[in-house]
């Protein structure tokens, strides 16, 4: 749900990073936080366990600049990836404007990727969204791992709607901004269609 404030001339959009446990959702957001101009980023809020696993969500507000005289602000959220946190995942999708699905490229995680996409479809539906139409980007993370599957295999198994795909190594920042940009493009173009 985009929040457009005509009084303060601001647009706020909510983007959610989704994906299986340990795929690199938090790493994406952390990299953006570290690279962003300190004046343009807010505080990075992480609700994590003592072992740094996401418990509820990570949250990062980012001021992007202006478009048509309106300040554009993105609110980036991650969900907890571990299977048993499903109730929390559902809550975080509430009112989202776009999804970045972070897939783990390692062959051994393919089943977890597929399960997570199915789980995303269900949770979106329960929040009144359709996974086939909501702004959506597919990121293939951990491309540097020796056990990474080929792009052809990943695309065949995980791509389902002609969505933009981005290859990434999030802990080195590769592909992180391109992914965010692809999501931003879709969300803002959606505003145009209003």
């Amino acid at each position: 749900m985009t929040f457009i404030n005509y009084a303060s001339r601001e647009i706020n959009c909510k983007i959610v990073y989704y994906g299986p446990g340990l795929c690199g959702k938090t790493t994406n957001i952390q990299w953006i936080y570290e690279q962003a101009n300190p004046e343009k980023r807010g505080k990075l809020v992480s609700l994590a366990t003592e072992t740094d696993r996401t418990l509820f969500f990570d949250f990062l507000p980012l001021d992007m600049g202006t478009i048509k005289g309106f300040k554009v602000r993105f609110h980036l959220y991650t969900v907890p990836g571990q299977v048993f946190y499903d109730a929390s995942r559902k809550l975080i999708l509430r009112g989202c404007d776009g999804i970045i699905f972070v897939a783990d490229s390692q062959r051994a995680r393919m089943e977890a990727n597929i399960e997570s996409i199915a789980n995303l479809a269900t949770n979106l539906r329960e929040n009144g969204f359709d996974i086939r139409t909501i702004p959506y980007v597919l990121q293939f993370n951990k491309r540097d791992m020796p056990s990474a599957a080929s792009m052809t295999d990943l695309e065949r198994l995980l791509r389902f709607r002609n969505e933009p795909m981005v290859e990434a190594v999030a802990n080195q920042g590769i592909g992180v901004i391109d992914t965010l940009k692809a999501a931003a493009r879709q969300i803002l173009m959606e505003l145009q269609r209003a």
């Binding site: 749900m1 985009t2 929040f3 457009i4 404030n5 005509y6 009084a7 303060s8 647009i11 706020n12 909510k14 807010g42 505080k43 809020v45 609700l47 509820f56 969500f57 949250f59 507000p61 992007m64 600049g65 478009i67 048509k68 005289g69 309106f70 554009v72 609110h75 959220y77 109730a87 929390s88 809550l91 975080i92 509430r94 009112g95 989202c96 009144g128 969204f129 901004i177 940009k181 931003a184 493009r185 803002l188 173009m189 959606e190 505003l191 145009q192 269609r193 209003a194």
Partner: protein
């Protein structure tokens, strides 16, 4: 644009701001925030600069959402009020209508009873404004509506510029 988009015009925003400004004074609160259930801050009054409002909005919404989940688990529709008591400051969180959350931060200069009383009155007034916003939004969805979005001509270049390209 999804039908759930929240659009606030200057007049509506000023009314909301006026109500929470009054609430802040009447309840002797330190700060009052009006937040959307999805975690966006709508308006604020009082000593706003003392707090990271963006994080507060997102965490409040998360808190309310989690409590909502708990309510449903035990067969309740929702818990309309949350209260967190600290050593110095307290947090009073209440639900306004379908989409608003009112957050009042207060210390020993006020009391829970006073805050509850004032919040009740302010909530009714806020609810009315939210209803108006919703009705207007419904009208704009009407194909015959004359409302024209300022974003109807966003270009690829506009988006590239956001990313400094």
């Amino acid at each position: 644009m999804s039908k759930l988009d929240l659009m606030l015009f200057e007049e509506e925003y000023n009314l909301l701001q006026e109500i929470i400004g009054r609430l802040s004074k009447d309840a002797s609160a330190k700060v009052v925030f009006l937040v959307d259930k999805n975690g966006q801050q709508i308006a604020a009054a009082g000593d706003v600069k003392s707090i990271d409002a963006t994080s507060l909005a997102s965490l409040t919404a998360g808190n309310v959402a989690a409590t909502d989940g708990l309510a449903k688990l035990i067969g309740e529709k929702e818990f309309s009020l949350l209260f967190h008591e600290g050593e110095k400051d307290n947090l009073h969180i209440s639900i306004v209508g379908k989409r608003g959350i009112l957050v009042v931060i207060f210390d020993q200069n006020s009391s829970l009873a006073l805050v509850r009383l004032r919040v009740k009155k302010a909530s009714r007034e806020l609810q009315e404004i939210f209803d108006q916003v919703e009705q207007r939004a419904q009208k704009e969805l009407d194909p015959g509506s004359r409302f024209e979005s300022p974003f109807s001509e966003i270009t690829d270049e506009d988006i590239d510029r956001l990313f400094g390209d």
